[in-house]
């Protein structure tokens, strides 16, 4: 292996370790950094919706587990605030 490739691989490894260390500090621990990379980043999207776009509709389930309603059924009379989240 040439000196060039040794240096290239070395620099890449150091950068990866540095990035993971930085992410660990930001996330709180190496486990959380792993979780962020494994679970969060693939699912966090800025999305294509913009202010002024038509609000997409989707069917939601009521707390009784059986009744269903559409988001757009709740719009029209006044502004609707949507709070997306999960318990955990």
């Amino acid at each position: 292996m040439s000196l060039f490739w040794k240096w290239t691989i070395g620099v890449v490894v150091v950068l990866l370790i540095g990035a993971f260390a930085g992410l660990s500090v930001m996330a709180g621990s190496p486990k959380d950094a792993y979780g962020m990379v494994r679970y969060a980043l693939p699912h966090m999207h800025r999305g294509v919706l913009k202010v002024g776009d038509d609000a997409p509709d989707a069917k939601l389930v009521a707390l009784d587990g059986s009744d269903r309603f559409h988001i757009r059924e709740r719009t029209g009379a006044k502004p609707l605030v949507l709070v997306f989240g999960s318990f955990t």
Partner: protein
């Protein structure tokens, strides 16, 4: 929508401390159970809807793990918040509503109730109640 920090994925220490320990739901019944535990525990005072297992709302609004929107009377997006938790900012929603309707003073009785001891009431963590009352797939 999908849980952000279930026990079988990326569990947070804070969830263990607060006794909010659920595996990622495999069916709608489990998701409904968790939602009802949340409502029961926090006495959440606003209308509530649950995304079904197709995660259609989550996908349409790029909502995971948490995000805020305002839809105006004409059905248009009037406000789009950033991805939570870092860019999840209820103050921006309050600002939008205040600009529209004026500032609102809340009484103490309007505040969302918090559990007195930080525990989950009758709900049990996934380890001690592994999808027992949470319906199985």
């Amino acid at each position: 929508m999908r849980e952000a920090h279930p026990t079988d994925e990326w569990q947070m220490k804070s969830n263990i401390k607060d006794d909010v320990c659920y595996a990622q739901p495999k069916n709608l019944e489990q998701r409904v159970y968790i939602a009802n535990d949340f409502i029961k525990r926090y006495k959440y005072p606003v209308p509530f809807g649950i995304d079904d297992m197709s995660n259609a709302a989550e996908g349409a609004y790029s909502a995971w793990p948490e995000r805020l929107y305002i839809i105006d009377e004409n059905g248009h997006i009037a406000y789009k918040g950033g991805n939570g938790p870092f860019k999840y900012d209820p103050k921006e929603v309050r600002g939008w509503l205040s600009a529209r309707y004026g500032e609102v003073q809340h009484d103490d009785k309007d505040k969302v109730a918090k559990p007195p001891d930080g525990k989950a009431g009758d709900a049990k963590p996934a380890e001690s109640q592994p999808a027992v009352t949470v319906p199985k797939a």
